[in-house]
Structure formats: structure tokens, C-alpha cells
Symmetry: C2
């Protein structure tokens, strides 16, 4: 178990024993080699850029964005209006050397070196992609000094640990507009991620315009989908930022959207419609065991793999989509197909018999192999979720591991079969876990040999399933947590100090928001709406210390959380659980204070703790005032009271009054999850009672 917040300041010494302290630097992801020296490169209005290498539109774009961003941050009137490949001045203050322009792809050379002296900055890379990473690192080093901005004298050599550093966004359950995807791409580029995996179809909707099969978007969606022109624009936007796009069309299950458009593809006839609610709708008010049984027993919309017309359809479809998505990969899902729809269809069981398939697993393997052949025909390498694996599959199929367990016997089997793995286990952002849980989840978990890991683990992907995510809170849910995952995938496995990660994540979140992300804006906007534009200060004080309940408890509403509300495609998702972040910054700050106080009993620290508790205790007054004109706030007065009560208990404990057992009991009540959120500061208040601060949990239950 990791020791969160207990190893303060040790980190610095480990990473840079022979150099300056790096705790002033907020790089994320942390580079492979950092040699910080004394001295500074000071930014002035003489700051120029020279570019030495072949023509690279994407690098030139990056440089211009970088240059303007330096101007914005420093306020300097920089001398170059617009930098082109003709600006190859080697006497420039920043010189960027690179050898080769390449398209973004997996396994290409992304390495770079960054050398900063007091007079000159040099970025050198084999490829324009490497140089772009170097620019991002450089920008993260720009920091305020007494009279202006500077970059410390430093030597950095860097390259990624994993080739595949992805983010999956489910745009099917709730449609995520193009501009939101673009902002995600910008953020990914900042933290050196290189794969955007779009989950484009599911039961709830099909989200790409097809010219060949136009009913896919007409009947398979609720009118919300990307036009082909938008996809082209998105691919171009991503490529210009060093990112490939992997389209996923989830088959043979999870396909009500497709079947609503072309029901002849289905295993059994029915009136298919895009699902209004997610698949688990039917399980409301049941218990977990019954849910699990139902998942295995219920007949769900499934493609008929026995008919040749199915493959004729998908051949034409994949041909069209391959032209639209030029990168080398095609994801066909293949998850969560229980085979019931197949078992109940006489024609399909006859087909299985004729082919000699003993189980629906074999039939699924047959389907995946047929899709593999279609992908191959259009130069795509196939990816499937882990259920897609079958020993009869070709070796170049990539398997995406998603089930919550660490590397297991199936994973080892896959690797020994020479297929490669992308790990999403432990990176599910829809579980509302705090960033450190994902950060400490290494893709190479116990149970795999180093050699196997080297050979078989291509990388990993953060996964943002969108049952409870829409255009407004997608950025709040993905960022900044995905940045912690990005570091896990880029940096050395030994870079794993949680305190230092949080220190840098806070700075990274400022950068992300400053450079276009609307994570912070949307959060504030959601709170402001509750008070119809009034000053939302008191709500922010409240919301800042609450986090959503964790695991699948929100998704399986009604089973575990009586107050939870079941989401539909058009659910407004405007309540506190939809808005609040998974890491509470005031909680992190308060935790540091409490830890420091408990170890040193310092009076300055005590005063800060008391001041903070008083703020929380008194927040009720302002909250109640705002609530008089807010229908929503009136429904969450109990949360405001919880905060007041918890703070009062903490103050009482600090003042030495009351009975400890009573206080702990009261605190438990104040800490009861309500409205699908829970108070983040409970362990610290408990510590003020008991005198002992517990470690943060190493894991959280899923249910």
C-alpha cells in the first residue's frame, strides 16, 4: 500500500540527487532524464525561434501556437509575427532541430532532447513529433520570476515508456460535440498522449455519417452525429497535434443503433430502436447477483454472424470508414456478447452445427476473424476488447484488456499467443476514482514477466464511458485525471510519488484550462446555473469538498443509492454529482495541514485548520441565503448541513471538548453519501478526533 502524503519531500532527492531541487518544476509527464542546474534563460522581447529541418506543417503550427502562448503568458511583444519553415536562423534564441517529418503513428520515434542555457534553448529530435513533445516540455518550464518569466537552465532527454498512450471517449451513450473532442485533443497533446479512441457506436446511438448506409445516422442516432466533413476536420486536427484516431464500431453486441437502421443484420427480428437508456435499465431495483445473472441470460441485440449478407454489408461499410479514418487501426468492440441471441435463433444454431462450433464463443471467434479479414483488406489492424480473443486469431490482432482485474491468466495467454495488449483495466474514468488510484495502477501489474510485458504490452488507454457524461461535464470527468494516466504511460515506472504528482497535476490543470480546456469554466457554470447567475461563492465552497460516490453505484442507481437518479440519453445531468470533481483540491490542501499538525502540533498549522473549519461551518449562512431563490439548492440543504456539522465536530475535537465516540458517531452520520456525492474531508476530521490520519485507500470497491 502506498503512503499518501506521508513521504513529503523525499521525492525530490530521489529523482535529482546530483542536481538542483526539482520541486519548483511542474513537468507532466515527468521526463526520463532531468538535469536541473543553476541559472536561468530569461524571456525578453528579443525571443526568437529558428527551425531547422524539412517542411512540417504540424511542427510549424505547434511552434506558432507555442510562440503566441509565450507572448500571452509573459506579456512580451515578441519580434516574430508568424514563424514559417523559412525562419531557419540558427542564431535564434530557441533553435529546433529535427531530421524527418512523419505522420503520427504507433512506435515511431517520439524522443527529443531539450537543452537550456542562460543564452540559448535547443530542442533536438529525430522527428517533428519528437520536436513537438520538446516544445510542450519547454512551455511547461516557463515560470514567473521576480521581474519576468524565465526557464531554468536544464538538460532533458526524453522518450516514452509505452508506444500507445490513449484516451477512449464514448461518444455513443451521450454525443460529445466536435469542439469538445478538439479541446480533449489539445489537452492530450499537452501531456503527450498519442491515441484518441472514439467509441462511435453502441446501443444508444451510431455517431458517424455514412454515405453508403445513411440510415445509420438517420435511424441509428437521435440526430446527433459527426458529418464526414467533421471527421476529416477532426483527423486533421489530431494529426497536427501528433495524435491518431482509432474508430470503434462495437460489434456483434452493443449495436441497437446499427440494428435500428438495418434490422436485417440482426440475429432475431424485433423493432430495434436506439436505446433511450443504457443497457442496464432493466435491472433497476434488483440486487447485484440478479444483475449479473441477467447480464448472462438476457437476449440482447446482436449481429447475425451466420449470414454472408452481414459481411457484404460490413465490407462496404468498413471500406467507407477506412477512407474516413486514415490511421492504421480499426476497433470492432466484441465485448459483452453473452451469445443468448444466437442460441435462441434456429438458423444460427444450425449454422454453428454445420461449422462444427461447440459454443457461441467459437461463433464469436468466427465473426471476429471475418471482421479481421475485412479490416486487412482495407489495411487496418484489428483491435477488440478482451472477449474478442481466441487462440485461433491472427497474431496481429490487438486486444484491449478492460476487466477490472490486473494482468491475469487470459492476459498471459494472449501475450504468449503473440498478440499485443492495450490495458484499460484500472484506467476507467467513469468510476469517479481519485487520480492517484489510476496513477498507481501500472500497466505492467504483478503476474507478468518483464520479458512478456516488453513484448506484449503496447500501452494503455484511459476510458471515458459516457452514460453519465455529456457535452458539459465531459471535460470535468476526463481532466485533469487523464494527465496522471498520461504520466503513468510516458514516464518511468519509478516516478510514482503521489504527493508530487498532485503538486504537478494542479499546475497542469491550470495549464490545460489556460490553453483552452473548459473543465474549470463548465464546473463554475454548472454551479452558477443553480443560482441563476448570482455570485456562486458559497456553493463553490460546498461543492469543492464533495466528490461523486465511487464505482458503479451511480450507474446502477436504485440498487445501491436510494437517492440516485437513473440517467437517460437526454437526462439533464446538472446536479451536484454531475458537476463535482473526483479530486477535491481543498481536501488535498486540508489533508496536508492535518498531517503536518498531527506530526508537529505546530500552532500556525492549527490556526489554519481552525480558520478553514470555521469557513466550512459558517458557509451555511450564505448557502441558505442563496437557497431562498434556488429550487435546486433547497433540495441539497442536507449537504450544506453535513459540511457544517462535520466542521463543527472537527472544531469541537480540536478544542478538546466532547466525547470521542459520540463525535465519531456524529461524523459517520455527517459522512453518509447523499445525492450521489460524499464529503471528501471526513478522514481528516476523523483524524482530528482520533489523532491518527489514515492512509488513503489503495483501492475502492466497484459496487
Amino acid at each position: 500500500m502506498h503512503k499518501l502524503f506521508t513521504l513529503l519531500l523525499i521525492f525530490t532527492g530521489i529523482l535529482s540527487a546530483n542536481a538542483q531541487s526539482t520541486d519548483s518544476i511542474s513537468l507532466m509527464p515527468w521526463p526520463q532524464s532531468v538535469k536541473l542546474q543553476s541559472g536561468r534563460f530569461v524571456f525578453t522581447d528579443k525571443f526568437t525561434v529558428g527551425l531547422n529541418g524539412p517542411v512540417s506543417e504540424k511542427l510549424t503550427g505547434s511552434i506558432n501556437r507555442f510562440y503566441q502562448q509565450v507572448g500571452k503568458r509573459t506579456g512580451l511583444y515578441l519580434p516574430q509575427e508568424y514563424i514559417t519553415v523559412a525562419d531557419n536562423n540558427t542564431n535564434a534564441q530557441l533553435v529546433i532541430n529535427f531530421k524527418k517529418t512523419i505522420l503520427p503513428a504507433i512506435g515511431v520515434d517520439e524522443s527529443y532532447t531539450l537543452s537550456v542555457s542562460s543564452a540559448k534553448i535547443t530542442i533536438s529530435a529525430a522527428t517533428d513529433l519528437g520536436a513537438m513533445h520538446g516544445l510542450e516540455t519547454l512551455y511547461q518550464l516557463v515560470m514567473p520570476g521576480k521581474t519576468g518569466y524565465y526557464c531554468p537552465v536544464i538538460e532533458i532527454a526524453d522518450s516514452p515508456r509505452f508506444k500507445w498512450r490513449g484516451l477512449m471517449i464514448d461518444v455513443a451513450r451521450h454525443f460529445i460535440p466536435l469542439e469538445v473532442l478538439k479541446r480533449n485533443i489539445d489537452a492530450m497533446a499537452i501531456v503527450k498522449m498519442n491515441v484518441l479512441h472514439l467509441h462511435l457506436s453502441d446501443d444508444e446511438g451510431f455517431r458517424v455519417e455514412s454515405m453508403v448506409y445513411p440510415k445509420l445516422q438517420q435511424k441509428g442516432s437521435n440526430g446527433l452525429y459527426y458529418t464526414q466533413q467533421q471527421i476529416k476536420e477532426l483527423v486533421n486536427y489530431a494529426h497536427n497535434r501528433g495524435i491518431i484516431i482509432v474508430p470503434e464500431f462495437d460489434l456483434p453486441g452493443h449495436c441497437s443503433g446499427i440494428l435500428a437502421a438495418y434490422p436485417f443484420l440482426a440475429s432475431y427480428p424485433a423493432d430495434y430502436k436506439p436505446a433511450k437508456r443504457y443497457n442496464l435499465d432493466t435491472v433497476k431495483n434488483l440486487n447485484i447477483m440478479k444483475v449479473m445473472r441477467l447480464i448472462n441470460e438476457v437476449q440482447t441485440p446482436t449481429i447475425d454472424p451466420s449470414k454472408e449478407s452481414t459481411y457484404t454489408f460490413f465490407d462496404k461499410f468498413i471500406k467507407e470508414m477506412s477512407g474516413l479514418f486514415p490511421d492504421a487501426y480499426l476497433h470492432v468492440g466484441a465485448d459483452e456478447n453473452n451469445g443468448v441471441a444466437w442460441k435462441q435463433d434456429p438458423a444460427i444454431t444450425a449454422f454453428m452445427k454445420a461449422k462444427g462450433f461447440k459454443s457461441t464463443d467459437e461463433l464469436q471467434a468466427y465473426f471476429v476473424k471475418r471482421m479481421y479479414a475485412i479490416g486487412k483488406k482495407y489495411n487496418k489492424r484489428l483491435i477488440g476488447w478482451e472477449e474478442a480473443f481466441n487462440p485461433s486469431l491472427p497474431e496481429d490482432v490487438i486486444i484491449q484488456k478492460w476487466k477490472p482485474a490486473p494482468i491475469d491468466s487470459l492476459s498471459n495467454k494472449i501475450i504468449r499467443h503473440n498478440n499485443q495488449l492495450i490495458i484499460s483495466s484500472g484506467y476507467y474514468l467513469d468510476l469517479y476514482f481519485p487520480a492517484y488510484i489510476h496513477y498507481l495502477n501500472d500497466p505492467v501489474s504483478a503476474g507478468i514477466s518483464p520479458a512478456d510485458a516488453d513484448k506484449g504490452i503496447l500501452g494503455a488507454e484511459a476510458a471515458m464511458w459516457s452514460e453519465m457524461v455529456n457535452d458539459e461535464n465531459e471535460e470535468i470527468r476526463v481532466w485533469p485525471r487523464a494527465a496522471a494516466i498520461a504520466e503513468r504511460l510516458w514516464s518511468a515506472a519509478t516516478v510514482n510519488n503521489v504527493d508530487d504528482m498532485y503538486r504537478r497535476l494542479s499546475k497542469t490543470n491550470f495549464e490545460l484550462n489556460d490553453r483552452g480546456l473548459l473543465e474549470s469554466r463548465n464546473y463554475i457554470n454548472m454551479l452558477s446555473r443553480w443560482v441563476n447567475g448570482a455570485n456562486a461563492g458559497a456553493i463553490k465552497t460546498l461543492a469543492d469538498v464533495y466528490t461523486p460516490i465511487k464505482g458503479y453505484r451511480r450507474l446502477m442507481a436504485g440498487m445501491f443509492t436510494p437517492v440516485a437518479v437513473h440517467p437517460t440519453l437526454s437526462s439533464p445531468m446538472v446536479n451536484i454529482a454531475d458537476a463535482v470533481r473526483c479530486d477535491s483540491e481543498p481536501h488535498l490542501h486540508f489533508r496536508k495541514l492535518v498531517a503536518a499538525y498531527l506530526s508537529k502540533h505546530d500552532t500556525a498549522c492549527l490556526a489554519q485548520i481552525k480558520w478553514q473549519l470555521l469557513q466550512w461551518q459558517n458557509n451555511k449562512v450564505k448557502f441558505d441565503e442563496l437557497a431562498t431563490n434556488s429550487p435546486y439548492l433547497q433540495t441539497i440543504t442536507d449537504l450544506s448541513n453535513q459540511l457544517t456539522d462535520a466542521a463543527a465536530i472537527g472544531l469541537q475535537a480540536l478544542n478538546g471538548g466532547g466525547n470521542k465516540d459520540d463525535q465519531l458517531k456524529q461524523l459517520q452520520k455527517a459522512g453518509m453519501p447523499l445525492h450521489e456525492v460524499q464529503l471528501a474531508i471526513l478522514p481528516e476530521i476523523e483524524a482530528l478526533i482520533t489523532g491518527k490520519l489514515k492512509d488513503e485507500p489503495a483501492s475502492y470497491p466497484l459496487f
Copy 2:
């Protein structure tokens, strides 16, 4: 002179003498007829929409956005997932009746009625455009009650006063990205504006992709321009929101961008380049008289109107652009051509002689007429700035009046010549005037007969020139002030109470930001950047009470304001004058308090004033703390000190201490404009000294 803030509460009585008080309603623009009654339509999870009329993609889109927005605001799980033309249920709670689907255009029927009873809402309109306006009005009526949201029982009949209600955005001086334009379009639709005029070319850049003349964007811009695909997307986006797009290609002057691409079009040979700074660059450190002389004497890049090849070029160019911009208008600028370039060119003077032209004005008229013929050929009605007018012009040329004077002899001459006017005089948003100045500027100013006004004034346009505006602060500069102009153009001339306008503008600004505008986000973001992401509260307290210096003093930097900085195309524009709003909300609030206190000497009011002054006085402590790590804040400590000093003087005056003359002298010092901004609360603090609150100025000087 208007009596700002002195006629509190009179407004209500005038507008709705026989009905409920309308001061709880925040409609903007205010409708032509409002009959508020007692009773409420309460929104519940049974809220449904029925649509009765022909197929209208844009109305269906509006309805779905409206419906989702109602869900977001109320938090209700509404029963319809997605509304289509098939949802024609007349028993729905909201029924929308319309007769005809039309393309957005000038002079079409935009009227609607909105009838709300406690059980049902009906919107009726002749056209889908009218129905869309009705939906916007309805959404603005959604308000919080004790337990949920409601809409008051009300009867509204509404139609616009002017046909042309425009916003001009200069995208040439600084490029304004597509997504910013889209957000402006969203905001325009909310306040019922119907024309987006894009100033697409100027000396600093040419901003549209041309396939026929690709050098226009390649050599005529700094790499920033709209692709044809983006223009198509923008036109479609605007049309779907009831807005037409008018492209302007400024000719024959203001055209270095074009001449850099195709120098053969120029009146004299030179090495043309897109201007890095705006035209007035050469006048730095001169006085205003010399500037004016130079403007009339300096030879500036100008199209050669004497060569047939010029018209061959523009015929092909306008043909291409006419395909791209389908709406009925073409703006060719024709402003600020002093004719010097023509007078100095022997071939041109020979041409004038041969044609019998006695002045360059006649040559300009010839040019405009040739452009008129080209426009006509491609079904475009020509628009030019007021210098384009010449009595020999056809009557269907529209003239855009921009010079700061009210309706003058030229305007009357234009109208008597049967040409129509668009008024931009008094609507220049780049002058940093507060909203009320534009609000009280009626397009029908003194000096024109009602009959002439009816016949000759088509409408008006807010104008956002972008020498000091970029992607980040464009929304801060345009909004919410453009909403006050939108009301001036839509509502009756008698709707002119400034206090009530500001009350509603504040609510409207919340709506605009809530529904996608980034005015508030970008403002906060710019302040946060100064402190590298630290809590920017103290800076906001400071920045909130400063406004930019007014008129052309920022633009003519160096002449009038020693501390001003001259902007270039790539100027960072991140300083306080770039960020702060033109109306200070805390100032407006403080002004009300001071006015109330001076008239009633109420102690509760006095306490509030003192509390506010103390907050301002003490802000210095937090500001100085933040400044230690902020190079920028260190440069504006003088502003922080000004606020502290001004607040201290106010407190001293309230406490009856000190000498009044000394206080006024000290206040003058504290009020000195610095860093291109000025303290907004000076008149109110002065009033605390003198006991008399002066009216806000009826106008501000331009220089």
C-alpha cells in the same frame, strides 16, 4: 441628458400600467407588447412540445436546443428524448404553430405571439423565424420559484422595429477563429439580431480561402483564414439560427492584404505586404491635427480602378465568393480612400481625364458602380460605407453610415436619393463606451423626418473593429454591450430606461454565458494567468472596478496616453486594459447604493457602502501577496494603490473627517488613468465628499 439611476421604478408603471409589475421579468430585447398577469405555468417532468407547421430543420433544431436547455435549467427529466416534425401533438404543454418555412432574409415576417396560461403555452407565428424568436422570449421567462421553475402567465405580441439588426466583426486586423464566430452567432440569436457582417479583408490580412485566387490567403494573410468548408459551415450555422452573413471585401483602399497577393491590381508598384500594425502606425508620437492631415495626404495601398484587368479579376473573385456566401448582400467597403495614390499615378490621372472625372471622388464612384454591376451579375445587392455614396449610384445600393456624427446632410441626401442606410454611428464597440451610451443612441437621431426615417433607415449595426481585439477578448468586448444595441434595434424607441436596461442586461449576460459564450470565462482566465493559476480573487476585486480608457486613446497610443502600448497583429493583448469590461458591475451596484444613501441617508445603506469601501481598501494586502509571484501584477501595483487610496478617501468623507478640497484633489490623483484603464467608482466617491452624485456623461470624447 438622461437621468441615469435617478428614475428608479418608474419604468415599470409606464410599460404595463394595466398589468402586473414587469420588474421581475428580464426580457431583452423588450417585446412590443407585454401583458403580464397573475398566475404561473409551472415546469414539471410532464413538459412536452408539439410542433404544427411545415418541415423546418432550423426550427426543429431551435426547439431541441430550447428543450434541452429547459432540462438543464430546471433539472427536470423531460419526457421527449428528441423532438421532430412528427411531434405535432396539439395537446402538448407547449404548442408551436407556424405557417411557413423561410430562409433568413431582411424584411421577412419575424413576428410572433406568445401566450402563457397556467396550463398551456402557445407560440404562434407566420414563419419559422418568428417562432424561433418566440422560443427565445419564452426561455428568457423561465424563472426560479420556491420549489421549481415557472413562467408567468403572460401575453406577448412582438415584432422588430428595424429590419436590419447587425453585428459587424472585423476578422482582418486580428483573425477571429470560427468557434468564436459561432459563439457570437449563438448570442446574436438570443437577442434577436439577424445580420453578421464579416469584415474579411483589410490591410492586415485577407481571411477567406479562394480557390480561384489562392495567393489571397497564402500571401495575403499571416496563415490565419477561413477555409471554404468553414465558411459553408458558418453560413449553415448562422442560417439555422435565423442570421444572414454579409461578407465585406474592403476596396479600393484598406487592401494591402489583397495587393500582397496580386500586386498587379495596385495603383502604383510597391512591395506590398499584409500590414503588421494597423494603418495609424506611422502617426505614433504625433498630435491629432497632424494625424488628420496625414490621413488625407499619405499615399496608401489602393486598387487601380482604371484597368479593365481589375474588373476581370473581381468578376471572377465575386463569382466565387457569391457561391460561398449565399445571402443577398455584398459589402465592398469603399471607406477612407483619400485618392492620393490615384492622383500620383500618371496612367490613372490620364484615365480620369479621358473619362472627364474632375475628382478622385468621381473615380471612386466609377469604381463603386463597376463593382455594383459585378454584384448585380451575381444577384448581390451592394453595400458600401458612407464614402461610397455618390448621386450617380443606383438606388438599391445600401449605404452604411459610420462617422461619429448623428444623421447629417449627407445622410438626408442619401435617403432623398432613395438609397437606404444602415447606421453604425454610435455603435462602435471599439470605443470602450459603457452600454448605456449605445443604448441611448437611436438610429433615428434628430435631423431626420419620421417619413424619411421610415423609408430610408433599414436598420443598424454594432461594429467591432479588432485592432485591439483577438480570439481571447473578442467576446468580452462585444458582449453584453451588443445586447443593449440589439434591444435598441428591436424594441420600441420609448423603451429607454437605463436602469432597467442594466438590470436586464446583467441577467442577459448570465444567460449568454450559461448558453455557451466565453465572455466570463475568458475574463477570469486572463486574470488567472497573471497569477499562474493561483486563486485570483483579489485581482478580480481590482479588475472589476476598472474600465478601459475610452475613445481612440488606446488605439492612438503614444499620442494621448504615455503608458499605452501600440498593438501589432501578434501583440499578446493580455494586460488589464485588454481584459477589463466596459461596464463595471460593482460600480453599477455601488452607484445605486450611493444614490440611495444620498437621497435617504439610510443607515443600512451606509453600512453597505462602508463595508464595500473597506473591502476595496483592504484588497491591497491580498494583491501584494499575489504580486510577489507575479511579474505582471508588480507592474500594476499603482492601480492597486489607487483603489486603496480612493476607498480610503471615501471612508474618510463618510466619517466626516478631512478637508473636502484636499479629498477632491487626492481623488483626482487616484483617478488618473494608468495602464490604459481608469477607476470606475470615482464619481461615486466624489459624491460621498460633495454630497451630490453627478449624472453619468451623456457622451464621451473620441480623443
